[in-house]
Amino acid sequence: MKINIKGLILNTFKESARNKMFYLLIFFGILFALSSKLISFLTLGDAMKVLKDTGLAAINFFCVLIAIFTGINLVYKEVEKKTIFNILSKPVTRGHFIIGKFFGLALTMLLALAAMAVIFFLLVFLVGGGFDLKILLYFFMLYLELLIIVAISLLFSSFSTPILSFIFTVSLYLIGHIMWTFNEFKMLLQSKLWIKFAQFLYYIMPNLDKFNIKNDVVLDLPLQATTILFSVLYALVYILALLTVTVMIFRRREFI
């Protein structure tokens, strides 16, 4: 059986890449990254550190916005506009459809991140810095985080409206960056059942802080290869689990 997901991936990529919102967010991402150069001039201290700190934060913020805004609309729009009829009536399973959407969006995010990364590296050169492998590693880790966000938004998009998907995805994104509080919260609990529940939540929620190595990059701290490797594995397993759940939900959907 010949399966062609390439067409679905490219079409998803085209859909996102022809969306004005996509370019607007990339534009703002680049604008804010550029403005970090200005901030670095106006601030006391190490200009390079300020540039890295604000520039990388700006890129992170706008890439996350692109991932959420594009992801929450992907499946919903196909169902709402009934374009899905033309796809699922062809030799395409619902699983192919979801995987095609995911990789198409992954390609879009790669393009967006690459565009911002190139601008950022140019800025670093302008301020007098050289090529820093750690910055590249930062972008790689950010990309993994973006893939998880894309998978989360795709999951919610497969059964709910864009507004609800936005609320759910943003909530999980925020929770994913304060996962350390779960351990502290667990200390306050008395009942074993509640402790187990808190532990369960800790394991199923996306631990997005694993991918945040900005401080290590900005302050030039040493990075452990095992930590990076574990984060990569974590991302792969988490994405696989999310896509599996999405396909399971989507297989049960009817299109009236």
């Binding site: 059986m1 010949k2 062609n4 390439k6 067409g7 679905l8 490219l10 079409n11 085209k14 859909e15 022809r18 969306n19 506009k81 009934k82 374009t83 009829f85 033309n86 796809i87 699922l88 009536s89 062809k90 030799p91 395409v92 399973t93 009817e254 299109f255 009236i256």
Partner: protein, 305 residues
């Protein structure tokens, strides 16, 4: 050989919170033979689109079986030889016709060179030549319908399922689509199409299935459904006054200098003809008026209601 076989298909929709049930399909049986044009006729809301969506795997039946070439319809291998045109098709408005057809071809893994050749031919065939590069958001309803037909034909399917294919087309477009469908039949394709436009259906179909309130009320060869079914008789006469004619039979109309008398009862023919001749009138013709698909359809609706 049977291409499509539907047995006891049932489908219920639920309102929000599962409070109310709507039984849309109440046990549908349909069989479509290879090489025929099957017309699926029914009023709005009868269950035509629901049946088609069940065939295409967009809805899941509650009960029943759908086989395509002997295979369960919910497998992708069963769907591979089907070309499908949904009702009021929607396409990605950020693509142009060429890109959309390329995308459709890619889903069938058609090699690029073969796809290009096929797309060029289809664009001509459906009458979209010159509009290949126009963004679909600028397409009219009729153009979208033509493009829908082209994407349904992209893999040169053996079996076409068309949901209201004439919707949105002007009379010329309808004629072109009719010719296209008849031409596809000549090529040996099987066509299953739904419509509520009786005229188009009567001109094309080999067999017809009438669905009313979620049930097939009648199914069979169109020629058999219509054959031997005389609705009434018409007597055409002249050289007689209206006053005289009114005494012979009250049910007549004047057309130019002729009168047309409509008789519901066959037994009246001789008596009326003799009376006209007796009054020195001229009997020009006695014509049986055959039942049309519309008569059968309206009759079925009347019986069900």
């Amino acid at each position: 050989m049977r291409i499509l076989e539907i047995t006891n298909l049932k489908k219920t929709f639920h309102s929000n919170f599962l409070i109310k049930k709507y039984r849309i399909l109440k046990g549908i049986d349909i069989s479509v033979e290879a090489g025929e044009i099957y017309g699926f006729l029914g009023p709005n809301g009868a269950g035509k689109t629901t049946t088609i969506k069940c065939i295409m795997g967009l809805l899941f039946p509650d009960e029943g079986e759908i086989l395509i070439n002997g295979r369960p319809a919910d497998t992708i291998d069963a769907r591979r030889p089907i070309g499908f045109l949904p009702e009021n098709p929607y396409f990605y408005d950020y693509l142009n016709a060429n890109e959309l057809l390329n995308f459709s071809a890619s889903l069938y893994s058609i090699p690029a060179a073969a796809a290009r050749e096929r797309i060029d031919r289809l664009i001509q065939q459906v009458g979209l030549a010159g509009f290949e590069r126009l963004k679909l958001r600028k397409f009219s309803k009729g153009m979208t319908q033509r493009l829908g037909m082209a994407q349904a034909l992209i893999q040169d399917p053996d079996f076409l399922i068309l949901d209201e294919p004439f919707s949105g087309l002007d009379p010329i477009g309808r004629k072109e689509f009719r010719d296209l469908i008849l031409n596809l039949k000549e090529q040996g394709k099987t066509i299953f199409f739904s419509s509520h436009i009786l005229q188009d259906m009567e001109m094309m179909v080999d067999r017809v299935g009438i669905i009313i309130n979620g049930k097939i009320s009648r199914q069979g060869k169109l020629s058999e459904l219509i054959a031997g079914s005389t609705r009434c008789h018409e007597i055409v006469c002249s050289q007689i006054s209206e006053k005289q004619l009114a005494l012979i039979h009250p049910n007549f109309v004047r057309r130019d200098n002729q009168y047309i008398i409509t008789l519901d009862n066959e037994a009246e023919i001789n008596l009326v003809v003799e009376s006209i001749i007796h009054n020195n009138g001229l009997v020009i013709a006695v014509n049986p008026v055959k039942k049309t698909l519309e008569d059968i359809f309206l009759n079925e609706i009347g019986e069900v209601q």
